[in-house]
């Protein structure tokens, strides 16, 4: 497998119209709309408020469109700015314009809600957010259209039956609906604010706070409409529209804040070399202002990447999590892979300089990760070797059972039959032979048990330990239980440990009593064997125990022997296993 090349760095910029063109066009458009509405009779104060908000949206849209990650948001901001003055068309005496102004006058609210509850990705955050967006379109355009069917006005092209009362009722319904949406919107934004972390938080927080500030004004105005307090709702309208300015301003502040927090590309080398405490990851994370930053190191012999603990890293998982990847090179070859917040891609200069310089400082950590990866592989291969040997033992035991043992059993029965009706001398000889055969069979069974105990395979560790205890000539108490079946290798290791320990106790310890305790810990199995014998146990007790520690080590387990002279022996083994 070859390493991903530098070309794999996401470069998502495409040729398109320069978003800066929007600035003069948008600013001039807003000025024209203001001039037109003033001449049609709009109040000075409303005109000033609307112009300020429209310019704020045009400026925010320009900034957003020039950043890859905020493109969809930029488009929605442009839509808000473009639909901002539509409501003023109701000042016109041209019926078509008036009707468009009546039906689409509040469309900007729907664009606004879609902008906020999908920020910054451009997709609604959750299914609930999607419902809120759709409801806003219904509450603004949909209900305005229905209201137009009844609203008495000489310019209303949609009028079916003039009824002021019905129009007012629909107005109140849409205000109730709108208030419910405003509450849901505020809850969504608040929940989002509490969940955001890192770069994403810095970018989005000011705008979301701005949206939260604007919501109560809207809510109070809608309550005034519901109560039929026309005076209050009319006075609040200008305030409500002005409060909207917090959203574009919040966006601009967030963008500036997130840039301020990042180091300049040229100072990065100094930051990385003298950047204070912690690992290189911590320094890079601080320098880039991304607490979620991860470093994965390139391993030459496998051609893949590992984390700092040496575990292999799946590229597909990173992509699925929506994280961005930047490859770091050192002396022309891959060194590491930075996994970071996609928002950083908006700083191509910074990312490029990280790519070129970080490699110089990462080599030591990369080598350490590579050694850990090799150790992990050796560990895995050791576990595989033990598993293969166990499988071979199991096969051997089965062959013994199905082959030699069956034949000897048959022979024993034939000798028993031969004794019937034979003369006494011959019967005696047959009986002797049967006795010898019985002893041979017993030895063969003992041997088969040492190769691979059938009781363990068929009944599990608890039954295996019980069988061992039954064959031990001193009293042994069993405490605890292994519970359900464990992986073969774990059961075998525990069984052989108990078997070897009990054999040693009988042979060397001069004990009168022993205890075997088997219990499950949160991360594996704990086996403790104690006796009241003479103590002083050491590796000289036989090759059995050192072979056992190898077996345990292959499972990443441990064995501890405490055996002070005269005070008995305690063996404690811990065998990790997933439960």
């Amino acid at each position: 497998m070859s390493a991903p090349t530098l070309d794999a760095v996401p470069l998502r910029r495409r040729e398109r119209v320069d978003p800066l063109l929007l600035l003069p066009v948008g600013a001039a458009g807003a000025l024209f709309a203001t001039w037109w509405s003033l001449s049609a009779g709009k109040s000075d104060i409303s005109a000033a408020v609307d112009l300020a908000v429209a310019w704020a949206f045009v400026a925010a849209a320009c900034l957003a469109l020039s950043k890859v990650t905020f493109r969809s948001s930029g488009i929605l901001m442009t839509a808000v700015a473009a639909s901002w003055f539509v409501t003023d068309l109701q000042l016109s005496t041209v019926s078509v314009l008036w009707t468009v102004g009546f039906v689409f006058g509040e469309l900007y609210l729907a664009f606004l809600v879609q902008l906020v509850v999908g920020f910054p990705e451009g997709r609604p955050w959750s299914p609930v957010a999607r419902i809120v967006v759709a409801s806003t379109y219904v509450a603004t355009v949909g209900l305005s259209f229905v209201r137009a069917l009844f609203y008495p006005s000489a310019h209303n092209l949609l009028l079916v039956r003039a009824s002021e009362q019905r129009a007012d009722t629909i107005d109140q319904i849409s205000a109730v609906f709108g208030a419910a949406i405003a509450i849901a919107f505020a809850v969504l934004v608040l929940a989002r604010l509490l969940r955001l972390r890192g770069v994403g938080r810095r970018v989005a927080m000011p705008m979301l706070v701005g949206a939260l500030l604007a919501t109560p004004v809207t809510l109070v105005r809608l309550v005034a409409v519901i109560q039929g307090n026309d005076g209050l709702s009319d006075r609040l309208e200008a305030v409500d529209r002005f409060a909207t300015i917090f959203i574009p301003l919040g966006f601009i502040v967030g963008l500036g804040w997130s840039r301020l927090r990042r180091v300049h590309a040229s100072t990065l080398v100094v930051e990385l070399r003298d950047g204070g405490a912690g690992t290189m990851r911590d320094r890079l994370s601080r320098a880039l202002g991304d607490p979620s930053l991860e470093i994965h190191f390139y391993v030459e012999h496998s051609g893949g990447y590992v984390d700092s603990a040496g575990h292999p890293v799946e590229l597909a998982n990173i992509e699925r999590a929506g994280r961005a990847v930047t490859h770091v090179v050192a002396q022309g070859s891959p060194a590491a892979m930075l996994v970071h917040d996609p928002a950083l891609l908006d700083e191509p200069d910074l990312v490029a300089s990280v790519r070129e310089t970080a490699g110089l400082f990462l080599e030591n950590e990369r080598l350490a990760a590579e050694i850990r990866a090799q150790l992990a592989e050796v560990q895995a291969s050791r576990a595989r070797i033990v598993a293969a040997a166990d499988e071979e033992r199991r096969r051997l035991e089965r062959d013994l059972h199905d082959g030699a043992q069956q034949h000897l059993v048959g022979l024993s029965l034939k000798l028993a039959l031969a004794q019937i009706g034979a003369d006494p001398a011959a019967a005696d000889a047959f009986a002797n032979a049967q006795g010898d055969l019985e002893r041979a069979l017993a030895e063969l069974r003992e041997f088969a048990r040492g190769v691979h105990p059938s009781v363990l395979r068929e009944e599990g560790l608890d039954a295996g330990v019980e069988a061992l205890v039954r064959r031990t000539p001193i009293p042994v108490e069993i405490v605890g239980s292994a519970g359900e079946r464990l992986p073969d290798a774990v059961e075998l290791a525990a069984y052989f440990l108990v078997s070897e320990s009990l054999a040693n106790i009988v042979k060397h310890a001069r004990a009168t009593h022993a205890t075997v305790s088997v219990s499950r810990a949160y991360d594996g199995l704990v086996v403790v064997i104690t006796d009241d014998g003479v103590g002083g146990a050491n590796a000289g007790w036989g090759t059995g125990l050192s072979g056992l520690s190898d077996r345990l080590a292959a499972l990443e387990g441990s064995l501890e022997v405490v055996s002070p002279p005269g005070s008995g022996t305690t063996l404690t083994a811990r065998i990790p296993c997933a439960s």
Binding site: H401, V409, A416, L417, A442, A463, R471
Partner: protein, 118 residues
Amino acid sequence: MSIRVLIVDDHAGFRALAREVLERHGFDVVAEAADGASALRAAEASRPDVVLLDVQLPDANGFDVADALVAPVEPPLVVMTSTRDLSDLGSRLERSSARGFIPKSRLSGAALEELVRR
């Protein structure tokens, strides 16, 4: 009237020898079966008094077969047997519905009769 026996073991050689050993002693071997499923069918058809049952069958654990065999109203008496010895079986024998255990190499009419009469 002699005691009717069903022999269950997957080794045909052992079944033939066991039949001869038991018949010489006066038992009536009414059927043989090579696995758990056919053992249950044979027990249903020939209604033996005693089932001599191998612990390790190709399709099932002998103890599970023993539990199934004693389910009917007038169940046969089940005696387990194995090439292995008692200590290899853990506590499974005590927990099962079998009457007792005879190692294969020590199978005899007398041994079986002793368990049956007990």
